[in-house]
């Protein structure tokens, strides 16, 4: 892949030049990050680097291998007896010592941090072991015996709408947890009067932005005060602390949360540590010791959290010129097995901007939330954006294709005009500022769209597949804490009381011996908040950045915070940096009073510059900033009360964030940036691979505080979006097996796969934020997947296309007929794609046996014979007339596991046919299946024919997908060949006798 040099064009907007020259000293510059020296020299302080109190125990979690099953038995005795194990916690302890996590919809369902009676997704915690170290804890997991009774599985969001789908939560009649309809303007009339109705159907897949550092915590229970002390890389929102405290049955002030100084990325996912805080809180309480738990990668990918997958039908009423008169959304949101706080927020975060960047006044929306047997969803970069913009911008492309218009022209004709801001959207959003048409023009001209189109023509003329895609996106930031309540009806909201706002807080303090300290509750996950805050405060006080020390670790017992605190919804630059600016400004105002008194000048005569405070009229009449700043500490008696300046904490919430109205209008976010992207892609005819030839992304995120970090955010979001578009999927088999448990199967693109985008900027400051800033961190996660999707659709000329755009999928879309197999080809054992059920394997074979059928038959019914032919059997006991139970070691090559197996003979037709049915389960997973054996008399004895079907799930399915089918075939084939061998058939080559080494 060619790497293109990124180009950055900062447009000096008119507003910027109004900011006085002096105050531009720090802001707007790409100063070196204060975080980097420590991180690059190994001095980061991440959770797992911090020491723990002596005696701290380590936890490991036993997780469900089944997507849906009733737990019929848990036996922890052997695990508890292992030396070094302190406690084993199960649902019994959890339900006794805690309450269910609060659920965000009005439905009679529970949400426990451990499986209670049933497991509902692969990876759901079933038991927790706390032991002297993690190794021992994992050893003990192997000793816990759990018996499951598998239940029918429901993994398809649309199928979950059916009342016949297997029900996950008995409190509900089906699997629909919420069904709300909204109507704004007159959508029925718009559709009735429009010349065209154009519809897209999309299925946005499950994926997640995966951080390098996984979830983790250390928790201690203080029995004498009935209080919990938690150290965790939790990222917020801190509204979740209320959920934790209620679950642990203590007042909020008895859950003290501290966060480490550094965090190895989150992208939203570390919000999902909260159920583990509750679970491990109970473990610490039961064990009577502090407990540490660090999530491993398999746990993270399988069972942490993911973005929602969503199935959407979106229709537009369109006039002949391509103008959209109305939109009708039908969204089916799959939140997985539980509605875990703050879900179903993903579905409602975009509610204000469901019409995107377009001036559309008629809007109909139906939002349904369904439960399926998958990992519960939660925060993830882009939160709700990709799921909305994929259908919306696919629709824009379809309108252009159907009406034979230029896609850029269709976008332009529908954009909100520059003179309409602040613009109230149909569903209640208040788009703060922007000039969308100018941004599109800038992108088209400066990004080189004309050249890209020339290139497309040239490649197509040469027979290549080349497409160009576009996406226009409104990027919301700073969430309204009340938007989630839009899921409730107005009546339900009246009962619950209004929720709104977004409290941001910052503290600025002056040190008695010079220097300024800043603290915020933004919980950075690597973005560089400390650097930007130092810029903001140094600029506000006209001092050097090096004089500002910023602390971002948080202690909820000591520091200022509010439920809106945390690192989410791109709120830092707009809300937190703004609050820091206000706090610094307040201090500065007091210092100015103090200076006026000391310099015998008036307040409006006082100027701060270059580390000095002086009289404008007589600059020699001056104080050093550090001297002035120390006055309130050393000689408060000379400072008037209103000028005392030691420490200033500001809470700021924007008045524009009002609660949902009776008409369900909601301004879900405070700021709305604008992005216009386009890209050219070429598809290889041989492999179906997509090569991103050029990607242009133009942003207006308001005022830019640190251009380097803004471009870093854009590039990072773009990289993750390329992953979502082309590579990544949290894939589930129809039986609910999770298929992407390692980074060999969950394909995060590397620098080899990600071209550098061309980044363009314009700056239209937000009138609603203290610094004119808006969020920028999530935009490309919203715009890039659909931009690439549109380009691929253009290249292939297809109407419907869903992510990820894998080469196998695109090759199938090219519809090249496959040459037929040769007539002598061996039978294909693989089922045709799409017909395969779950991880089902089908196979058949036969063996010649030098005994008559009757004798072969008798051997089949003999426990001792089965003992010798079940691969790796340690012992076989007969259960009932036609059943057997065995302890077996199975595996291929070095991969081995011990399993408990049950085999039953059925449909007996002596002496010619029998069905073997059974299952096996162990630490690596489970298998079940059946095989039909036919015995036919031949001249030399008997021909044994077998056909089988088997299903495999659990850990092996999550981590060994690439090899699992072939491995299972080896095991199954060995069983039947051993049967033939035992029955006196010709001994096969020595390979399969070597596959499984028997243990004594």
């Amino acid at each position: 892949m060619t790497c293109r040099k990124s180009r950055r064009v900062i447009r000096e907007a008119a507003h910027l030049s109004e900011i006085p020259e002096d105050s531009k000293r720090w802001l707007g510059r790409s100063v070196a990050r204060v975080e980097d020296a420590g991180l690059l020299t190994g001095q980061g302080r991440f959770l797992d680097d911090l020491g723990v109190r002596p005696g701290t125990l380590h936890a490991a979690i036993l997780r469900s291998p089944h997507a849906h099953a009733r737990i019929t038995k848990i036996d922890t005795a052997a695990a508890k007896a292992l030396p070094g194990v302190s406690a084993v916690i199960t649902a019994e302890d959890v339900t006794k010592l805690s309450n269910s996590l609060v659920v965000g919809v009005k439905a009679p369902i529970m949400c426990w941090p451990i499986a209670v009676e049933k497991v509902r997704y692969v990876g759901e915690p079933v038991a927790v072991v706390v032991a002297r170290d993690r190794y021992l804890a994992e050893d003990a997991l192997d000793l816990i015996e759990v018996e499951y009774e598998p239940l029918p599985v429901n993994v398809d969001a649309l199928a979950a709408l059916s009342p016949e789908s297997p029900v996950l939560h008995d409190g509900l009649k089906g699997n629909i947890a919420s069904d709300r309809k909204f109507r704004y303007g007159d959508p029925e009339r718009a559709f009735a009067e429009a010349a065209h109705k154009i519809t897209v159907e999309t299925n946005y897949p499950r994926n997640s932005c995966t951080p390098m550092e996984t979830l983790g915590l250390v928790i201690e229970y203080n029995a004498s005060e009935d209080a919990f002390d938690v150290l965790s890389n939790f990222q917020g929102p801190f509204s979740i602390l209320a959920v934790i405290a209620r679950a642990l049955r203590v007042p909020g002030n008895r859950v003290r949360l501290r966060t480490p100084g550094d965090s190895g990325g989150s992208f939203g996912t570390k919000q999902a540590v909260f159920p583990y805080i509750v679970l491990m809180g109970i473990a610490a309480r039961v064990a009577g010791k502090p407990v540490k738990w660090i999530e491993d990668r398999l746990e993270h990918l399988t069972a942490s959290v993911s973005a929602t997958n969503r199935s959407t039908t979106l229709s537009a009423a369109v006039d002949p010129d391509g103008r959209i008169l109305g939109l009708a959304w039908d969204q089916v949101e799959d939140v997985g097995a539980h509605i875990r706080a703050p879900e179903p927020a993903t579905l409602y975060r975009m509610h204000a901007n469901l019409c995107g960047a377009y001036d559309i006044r008629n809007l109909a929306v139906r939002n349904r939330v369904v439960l399926t047997n998958k990992t519960p969803t939660g925060l993830n970069r882009g939160f709700g954006g990709p799921q909305v913009y994929y259908p919306l911008e696919r629709l824009m492309q379809r309108i252009a294709v159907e009406l034979k218009l230029d896609p850029v022209e269709v976008v332009r004709r529908n954009l909100i005009a520059a003179d309409k801001f602040p613009y109230r959207t149909a569903s209640g959003g208040l788009l703060d500022s922007g000039d969308y048409p100018a941004a599109v023009t800038m992108a088209v001209e400066e990004g080189g769209l004309a050249e890209l189109r020339a290139r497309q023509r040239a490649v197509r003329e040469a027979g290549g597949l080349y497409g160009i895609g576009f996406a226009a996106v409104v990027e919301p930031s700073v969430s309204n804490m009340g938007y989630i309540t839009t899921v409730l009806t107005p009546e339900e909201r009246r009962k619950a009381g209004p929720k709104n706002g977004a409290q941001a807080t910052a503290t600025v303090a002056i040190n008695p011996v010079g220097g300024v300290s800043v603290h915020v509750a933004s919980v950075p996950q690597g973005q560089g908040h400390r650097t930007v805050l130092a810029q903001v405060v140094a600029e506000a006080l006209s001092i050097e950045m090096s004089e500002v020390q910023v602390v971002t670790d948080l202690d909820t017992a000591k520091d200022a915070w509010s439920i809106a605190s945390g690192n989410y919804a791109s709120r830092f630059a707009a809300a937190v940096a703004g609050a820091a600016n206000l706090a610094a400004a307040n201090l500065k105002a007091r210092l100015a009073r103090s200076a006026a008194a000391q310099l015998n000048a008036t307040i409006d005569d006082i100027e701060f510059a270059g580390g000095k405070v002086f009289s404008k009229r007589n600059p020699d009449n001056a104080l050093a900033f550090s001297r002035l700043a120390a006055t309130s500490h050393w000689s408060p008696g000379v400072v008037p009360d209103e000028a005392q300046a030691i420490r200033e904490t500001v809470f700021w919430t924007p008045p524009q964030l009002t609660p949902p109205t009776e008409a369900d209008e909601i301004n879900s976010s405070l700021c709305y940036g604008f992005i216009f992207d386009y890209c050219g892609v070429e598809i290889d005819r041989e492999t179906g691979a997509v090569r991103i030839d050029k990607y242009v992304t133009a942003h207006d995120c308001g005022r830019i505080l640190h251009p380097g970090m803004v471009n870093g955010q854009i590039t990072g979001g773009f990289a993750q979006a390329v992953g979502a578009a082309l590579y990544e999927e949290y894939a589930y088999a129809p039986d609910g097996s999770f298929l992407a448990g390692t980074f060999a199967d969950y394909l995060v693109p590397t620098m080899m796969e990600i071209p550098a985008p061309v980044i363009l900027h314009m700056e239209t400051p937000s009138p609603f934020t203290p610094l004119g800033t808006k969020g920028v961190g999530e935009g490309n996660c919203m715009s890039t997947p659909v931009c690439i999707g549109n380009a691929v659709a253009d290249a292939l000329g297809v109407e419907t296309i869903d992510l990820p755009l894998t080469p196998a999928k695109l090759t199938a879309l090219m519809q090249k007929p496959e040459p037929a197999p040769p007539t002598h080809a061996e039978a294909q054992t693989s089922a045709a794609p799409g017909q395969q059920k779950g991880r089902s394997l089908f196979g058949e074979g036969s063996a010649e046996i030098a005994l008559p059928p009757q004798q072969v038959w008798e051997m089949l019914l003999d426990a001792d014979v089965l003992a010798s032919i079940i691969p790796g059997a340690h012992s076989v006991e007969k259960v009932g007339a036609h059943g057997f139970r065995a302890d077996v070691s199975l595996g291929v090559g070095p991969v081995k596991g011990r399993y408990r197996a049950n085999v039953e003979l059925a449909d007996l037709e002596p002496p010619s046919a029998v069905t073997l049915r059974g299952g096996a389960s162990g630490a690596l997973g489970f298998a079940s299946g059946e095989g039909r054996i036919q015995l036919t008399a031949t001249d030399s004895g008997t021909r044994l024919d077998y056909r089988y079907g088997a299903e495999i799930g659990g850990k092996v399915a999550s981590i060994g997908g690439r090899l699992l089918d072939a491995a299972a075939r080896v095991v199954i084939r060995q069983f039947f060949e051993a049967l033939a061998r035992r029955a006196g058939g010709p001994r096969s080559g020595n390979w399969f006798t070597r596959l499984f080494r028997r243990r004594p």
Partner: protein
């Protein structure tokens, strides 16, 4: 993700390895650890002991011996890739090695370790199969040389007996009048191959080996066929490999890659007949 308990044995000589493999039940040789260590951590493999062979000097050599490049069991992939004579002596190996994992894993992973694990998508077993190379195994009972076609017996299984270690692999050197080519396609740079093709051709012979499709690398001689027959022969070959669907590719997609990449690889090999 912590391994179950195992003993770590550090062998100072080949004799140490032989003794340990014959005496310790369920022991496993540890070389570069790029496959075994993750398997231990995930508890997929639970050997009683691992025998570290990386300090045995005699296993660290690359030498040309009797028309073959002999690569010892402790030779890391990066070392072979940096061997100055590699491209001249065996261009197919030189073309395939950069596709083995990533630079970081090649710095640790060994050439023989890849052969020992016999992953069906791995490049080194594919090259050994295409070139008709061999694997040198030894034990207290003695030493033997196994042809690649007999060594790779199935999915992650080989003809190595429990008490045997791989001492070296032998890659036949370039033959005059032959051309070699290698191609691979994976989802990302460094991923396991969805399909890998290695071709060895002369004026009279076409040998194509395919990795990533069957349960082991499979080679077929497609000699003496014209273009049309060749296309038919490769299609037959593709269908014979029993391709399967998985998360990353369908069986049909893999067959297409075999057909198209196979032909291209043969053409490229023909173009560089020396």
């Amino acid at each position: 993700m912590k391994p179950a308990q195992f003993d770590y044995l550090r062998a100072e000589s080949i004799g140490d390895v032989h003794r340990a493999l014959s005496e310790v039940k369920d022991a496993r040789v540890l070389a570069g650890g790029q496959t075994l260590m993750p398997m231990l951590s995930m508890r997929l493999a639970r050997p009683s002991s691992v025998i570290d062979i990386m300090r045995i000097e005699a296993l660290g050599r690359i030498e040309e011996k009797g028309n073959a490049i002999r690569v010892g069991a402790a030779v890391r992939q990066a070392k072979l890739l940096a061997w100055p004579a590699l491209k001249d002596r065996q261009p197919l190996l030189a073309a395939a090695l950069p596709w083995v994992g990533h630079a970081q894993t090649r710095n640790r992973g060994t050439v023989c370790g890849s052969a020992a694990h016999a992953d069906p998508s791995a490049e080194i077993p594919l090259v050994l199969t295409a070139l008709e190379g061999s694997v040198e195994v030894s034990s207290l009972r003695g030493a033997r040389k196994v042809a690649a076609a007999e060594f790779f017996t199935g999915l992650m299984t080989t003809a190595r007996a429990d008490d045997e270690m791989i001492e070296a692999v032998h890659f036949p050197v370039r033959q005059p009048g032959h051309g070699y080519a290698f191609n691979e396609y994976g989802r990302r740079h460094g991923d396991f191959a969805l399909v890998a093709c290695a071709a060895v051709v002369s004026r009279t012979r076409v040998r194509l080996a395919i990795g990533g499709v069957s349960d082991r690398p499979v080679a077929r001689d497609l000699s003496g066929t014209n273009d049309e027959e060749l296309a038919q022969a490769i299609n037959d070959f593709a269908w014979s490999l029993e391709a399967r669907d998985d998360l990353h590719a369908t069986a049909s997609y893999r067959r297409q890659l075999v057909r198209e990449m196979g032909i291209r690889t043969i053409r490229e090999a023909r173009a560089c007949i020396s």
